[in-house]
Every structure is written in structure tokens, then in C-alpha cells.
Amino acid sequence: MNLDFSDDQKFLQNEARKFLEKEESIKRNREILDESSSLDVDLWRKIVALGWTGIRIPENFDGLGLGHLELCVIAEELGRFLAPVPYSSSVYLFTEAVIKYGSEELKKDILPKLVSGEIVGTLAVTEDFMAPSSSNIKTEVLNNKITGKKIAVPDAGIATHSIIVCKSSNGIDLRLIDHKDKSLNILKQDTVDGSRGHFCVELENTPSILVGEEGNGWDLYESIINQAAVLFSFEQVGGSQATLDMAVNYAKERYAFGKPIGSFQGVKHKLADMYVAITLAKSNSYYAAWALSSESSDLPVAAATARVSATKAFQLCSKENIQTHGGNGFTWEYDCHLFYKRSKLLSLNIGSLSNWKEKLVSSLEKSNIN
């Protein structure tokens, strides 16, 4: 019985924590908002230099050849420090899609450049103000050329390549495009959390390369986000823990009626609820990490369980952290809002809470838990 990370993995996590703390990741997040930029290029370069973009990339493609568990511990720290970098888009989604479904030729071309930072990727699926589904994708591919419009594409501004979910004559395809192509138009969109820019990507006869089986793209997409859900959960757990720590520290130091507010049960119980939510989310994320790393058939259920618990935990913790801070929590000056906004970004990227609850129950129906 060992539902825990190894000493090496814990060491990696500790190094990641020290690095992001030293680099003042949270302060960088705030600076981006103040400057209306869309990410921190300097921090991203340093992360590339540490080799984190190549964690799962095999050694023959210049990567570190490590497993998903190493990604999980990095994800938790990125979440804790609100790192304003395109890690989830490029690593959990784009890189994993290429590793999983790319041809050998594509891997040879792309993977080493993901390690070196020359390529940054993202995944584009949403097209309108509603959840994407296999039946509402309109962006279309004809003779390998894609025409259509994607919105709310995270990190597309720094990305050099995207995987586009598009309609083909046989169903849905996943297709890779190069952002250098002149047929593309990429526009920054105003968002609620500017620390991770979202973009509109307009395609007009944009050349593309098929990734994975033709016409089966929706299933492949689902499979990619099932994997990514585990990593998102770890980011959400990290963010939840950071907000609980902030709230606890504030509740010990802030006095009202002659006492620390943390001595009042109204505050205590709120913080205890946050601890309970985090513990459930963390334990479910550990189990999902096991399911992911061991390629268990339980992954769809385990990933959705982790995702739902972690989304609920981060939403609860980030909003109650503001509440604990009182009026200060509502100011731009305090960091509470940075976590509140990131919790929303992480809960909507790769699909909303209600959609993941639905995925969980339909996976249970398929796996027939009784």
C-alpha cells in the first residue's frame, strides 16, 4: 500500500516550491494584471531552462523521460504560486496530445523543440458562448486546410502551435497548425483573469497536420482532457492550500472585539470546511495520479472525481479566503482576488464543474459500479 509520492518526487516538488517562491511568482502574476500583459515570458524561460517542459518527453527526444507523477507534483506548486505561464496548455494538453497521438515523424519534429522552448503549444476547442461538444463544432477542415474561428483559447498569444478540434467529412479531427502561417489571425480577448491570456484564433484555409485517427478526434480530445483533469486537479489543490494558508494567517493576526478573529467559531468553522474540502480533493487527486500513471481503466472515473473535488475545493477556498479577509479581501492590493480569479480560470479551462459532474456520473454508468 503506497498512495503517496516517492522521496524523489517529493524532492522535485520541494525544489519547484523553492524556485517559484524565490522567483516571486505571485508578485509576477500581479504585475501582469497591472501591465495588461498576458503572461510572464521571463518566468516561462526559466521554467523551460529547468527542463519542466520536457518532464514527460522521452530521452531520445531530449526530454527527461519521467512520468505523470512528476508532472503532478510540479502542477501542485504552479497552482500554489499562481504561475502566470502557459504550462497547462503547452504541457498537459499540447505535449500530451503529441506524445499520445502524434506520428513518429511529428514527435521527432515537435518534441525536442517543446523541450528547448522553441515550440509552445495550446489546444483550441471553444467556438461560441457555450460548452463545446462534438455536435456544435463548426470549424471545418477541407483538404487539410482549416477554416473557422476559435475563442477563449488559453495562451495562444505565446503559443507557436495549436491543436485545433475541427469538423471533417468523417467526424471530428484533431489537427496541428503552425502559428507562423499568414492565414491566421490571433487576437487577444479581454478576460476575467488576465494573468493567463485568452485569445481568439481565426483560421482561413490554414494548413494543418492530422494528429491521431481521422474522424475520431472527439474521443481523442476527451481522452486528453481526462489526463489533463488530473494535472489541473493538482494545480487546484495547490491553489486551495495557498488560500487556506493565507486565510489562517490572517485570522490569527487580525483582531476584532479584542481577540484574533480566528478564535471566533464563525471563522473557525469556515476554515475547517476549507480544510475538509482540500483533504477530499487531495486524496482523490492522489488516487487519480495513480490511475493516470499506471494507465488504469479506472482513469475516466478517477480523473472526474479528482476534477470535481478539486474544482469545488478551490472555488470554496478562494471565495472564503476573501470573506475571511473582510473588506481588505475585496481590494486590488491584497492577493485574495488573484486566487479567486485563477480558481475560476482553472475550473472553466477543460470544462465546467457541471460538465465534469456529468462526465463522472456517465463514466460510473459505463463502468457499472454495481
Binding site: 500500500m1 503506497n2 498512495l3 503517496d4 509520492f5 507523477l69 487556506l244 489562517v248 485570522a251 490569527k252 481577540k259 484574533p260 480566528g262 478564535s263 471566533f264 467559531q265 471563522v267 473557525k268 468553522h269 476554515l271 475547517a272 470546511d273 480544510y275 475538509v276 483533504t279 477530499l280 480533493a281 486524496s283 482523490n284 492522489y286 488516487y287 495520479a289 495513480w290 500513471s293 499506471s294 472526474a304 472525481t305 470535481v308 473535488s309 469545488k312 457541471s354 465534469w356 459532474k357 456529468e358 463522472l360 456520473v361 460510473l364 454508468e365 459500479i369 454495481n370
Partner: protein, 405 residues
């Protein structure tokens, strides 16, 4: 990460299973909860004796008291395997889980040799006499008195919520020996013979209709000083040892869980559609599944720590809050799904399990620490928040304000 036993653990699990398969029947599905039933009591005693004779009764206890000094992980393995079989558990949890550890720590060698083996064997049942009508969550506010009289103490007062007092042979008791001292300093701890003259046990009828708790009255009950556990005035310290064990003993709320709700939703009609197609039901099932598995996986993390010889973190402290509330919600869901007919008592074991959950869960949210007290404990002991200001701090017990109750 992996879920495999190591060789030693796998061998131990195999031994457990082999013995259980020979001596008990595997669970079939919906098992009945018959705690208050007298035949159940005899069946529980018989099962405990069978385990004791074969060495399975109190695995972690030292050999001289009927155990095999097993490790924490072996204890969990046994408990996992035993829980897969339809056996009468529950009667001895308070005695073995709370009274046993206190006796182990504070009783004399002669007393341990006299009382622990029959406790492990199930021959003598023990109860815990702490709560009082005006001392529940604030159990240190208790009023029952002990007055020293030569080599004896004379006990007067009343205890309440005493599980199993009506069939217990012995009990552990905390009482006030000096009301002039501060409230936590004026208490002393004893174990007593429940058949002593002057003890009167009255069952309490619960909202379920059953009676597993009692009121216990003490009228000039004589307890020899040799049955004092800890020094005079150490009552609270000894009580805390017991309460720490109580939290481990209470743990998971048994009863209808997400699997039952899911199975029910697939079979139940909802205005002409299967209930499982109802969006709000799907959302609730997702929530309960996350809670149930969050607890299960938390337990696995605790076991992982024990398995490596590490001390587990405080994660397990969330178990009762989460499981008792989930039980109440699931009971409510099942009854709600029956519309007006949900009020009717029936022989249908699934419907019964929802009604039992709904009726029983309010008790579980209170017993062994209310939700509110458990949240205080998480906030103070895990998160390190300061204690609430107390109106009784530093006051002699007799000067502490009390309400009418």
C-alpha cells in the same frame, strides 16, 4: 504509487481471509442493523469469543491480554477483511476502543490482568460514563460528585447518552471531586462495576424509536479508591486519552452510501423517466461519490503512512463530519424520490435503509463530538487557530454561570 500489500502484509491478509472464510459468511448486500436486539447481543458475544479463542479479537494488544501485538497496518488489514463478512460488530467498540486503552494506561498490573482479557473475549462489556444532562460538548462542565470516605468514594449524580449501559458489566466514569477548583482541575476518574448498588439505568427512546443510549443515575454508589484511574484531580487528563480514542472508534457513519443511491436511482421512476436521468440527482450523486471516495482515498493515504512506519497526518479527522452529513443527505434523497409514499414503513430493505439513514444520521452528527466541536478541533489542533475566549476560565467550578438545564 501502488495498492499492493508487501509480502508480509499479503501473507497476513491471506491468513485473515482463510480464517474468516471458515468461520463467517461473506456479506450479501443490504445487512440489517440490529444493535438494540438482544439476540444480536448474544450473537456479537459469540462472534467476539470465537475471534478471541483464535487470537483475532484484539490484534494490537499485548499477548498477555489476548492480543498478538500486531502493527497498525495489520489491524487495518484485519478490519478491512472482517468488514467484508456479515458478522455482528458494534457492541464492543466503546469498551475495546475507549475503555480498554484507558485501563491499559492507568490500571494496576493486577487490574489489567483481571479485566482486559474478559473485555477482549466479549465476556464482560464496558461502557463510558462522561456526558451529563448539562455537560455535552462542554463535557468538562460535568456535575456528578465524588466524595472521599476512607478507602472509598461515594458517587452521586447523573450521566446520559451512555451507549450500551443496559447490558454493560463495567464502566469508566469521570466525576467532580472538588467544585472549589477550576473546572478542569476538580475532576477524578474511576472504573466501576455497573451492578453496584445505587446505579439505575433508564433507556432513552430515540427519534428512531430504538433505544441504544441510556440515562444512568448514581445514588450513593460506593467505589473503592483502588478503582481510581490516575491521580486525584487528573480526571480531565485521563478523559482526554479516552476522547482521542473515541474519535478513532467512531469514524465512518455506516449505512446507505453512494452505491446504494446510484443503484436506487437506476431503478426508480421519476415522472415516467428513470430517476438517474434527473440532472439534480446526477449532480448529487457526483458530490456523494467524490465525498465517499475522498474518505476512502484519505484512509489509503493514512495506511500508506502507517505502512512506511510514519505517523499519519491529521487527515482522518474529517471522516465523521463528511460521512454523517452524507448519510443524512442520501437518506433524504431516497425518501424524497418516493414522493408521498416515502413516509410509509415497508419491508423493502432499500427503502428501510434510506429511512434508517435519515432517522439515524442526526444522532451520528452529534455522537462522539458534534460537527461543530469537530470543526473546532480541526481549526485549533490542525490549523493552529487560537481558542475561543471562555467565560469560565480561571473560575472555581462552583462560580461558573449555568443556564436552567
Amino acid at each position: 504509487m501502488d495498492f499492493k500489500d508487501n509480502q508480509e502484509q499479503a501473507n497476513f491478509r491471506k491468513k485473515c481471509r482463510e480464517w474468516l472464510e471458515k468461520n463467517a459468511k461473506p456479506k450479501t448486500g443490504v445487512e440489517k442493523n440490529e444493535f438494540a436486539n438482544i439476540n444480536y447481543l448474544q450473537a456479537a458475544k459469540d462472534w467476539q469469543k470465537k475471534k478471541y479463542d483464535a487470537g483475532w479479537a484484539m490484534l494490537h494488544w499485548p499477548k498477555e491480554y489476548g492480543g498478538i501485538a500486531a502493527s497498525a497496518i495489520e489491524r487495518i488489514i484485519w478490519s478491512e477483511e472482517e468488514s467484508k463478512f456479515d458478522v455482528p460488530r458494534g457492541i464492543f467498540e466503546i469498551g475495546l476502543g475507549m475503555c480498554g486503552p484507558v485501563m491499559m494506561e492507568y490500571a494496576s498490573e493486577n487490574q489489567k490482568a483481571r479485566y482486559l482479557p474478559p473485555m477482549a473475549e466479549g465476556k464482560e462489556i464496558w461502557c463510558q460514563l462522561f456526558s451529563e444532562p448539562s455537560a455535552g460538548s462542554d463535557v468538562a462542565g460535568l456535575r456528578s460528585k465524588a466524595v472521599q470516605d476512607g478507602d472509598n468514594w461515594i458517587i452521586n449524580g447523573q450521566k446520559v447518552w451512555t451507549s450500551g449501559a443496559h447490558f454493560s458489566d463495567y464502566g469508566i466514569l469521570v466525576v467532580r471531586h472538588d467544585a472549589n477548583l477550576e473546572k478542569h482541575k476538580g475532576m477524578t476518574f474511576f472504573f466501576i462495576d455497573m451492578k453496584s448498588p445505587g446505579i439505575e439505568v433508564k433507556p432513552i427512546k430515540q427519534i428512531t424509536g430504538g433505544s441504544s443510549f441510556n440515562e444512568v443515575y448514581f445514588n450513593d454508589v460506593v467505589v473503592p479508591d483502588s478503582q481510581r484511574l490516575g491521580e486525584i484531580g487528573d480526571g480531565w487528563k485521563v478523559a482526554i486519552t479516552t476522547l482521542m480514542n473515541e474519535r478513532l472508534a467512531v469514524g465512518d457513519a455506516n449505512g446507505a452510501d453512494v452505491e446504494d443511491a446510484f443503484r436506487w436511482a437506476k431503478g426508480q421512476d421519476d415522472l415516467g423517466e428513470p430517476l438517474i436521468n434527473n440532472k439534480s440527482v446526477r449532480s448529487s450523486i457526483a458530490d456523494w461519490y467524490c465525498e465517499a471516495n475522498g474518505l476512502k482515498n484519505t484512509k489509503l493515504r493514512t495506511m500508506s503512512a502507517l505502512s512506511k512506519g510514519e505517523t499519519p497526518g491529521p487527515e482522518a479527522s474529517i471522516t465523521k463530519i463528511v460521512s454523517a452529513n452524507k448519510l443524512q443527505d442520501i437518506g433524504n434523497f431516497g425518501m424524497d424520490s418516493l414522493d408521498m409514499s416515502g413516509m410509509l414503513k415497508t419491508d423493502d430493505p432499500e427503502i428501510q435503509s434510506f429511512q434508517n439513514a435519515w432517522l439515524g444520521a442526526p444522532g451520528l452528527r452529534i455522537a462522539g463530538g458534534t460537527d461543530e466541536i469537530l470543526k473546532n478541533i480541526i481549526a485549533e489542533r490542525v490549523l493552529g487557530l487560537p481558542q475561543d475566549a471562555r467565560a469560565d476560565k480561571g473560575l472555581p467550578y462552583k462560580d461558573i454561570p449555568t443556564g436552567n438545564a
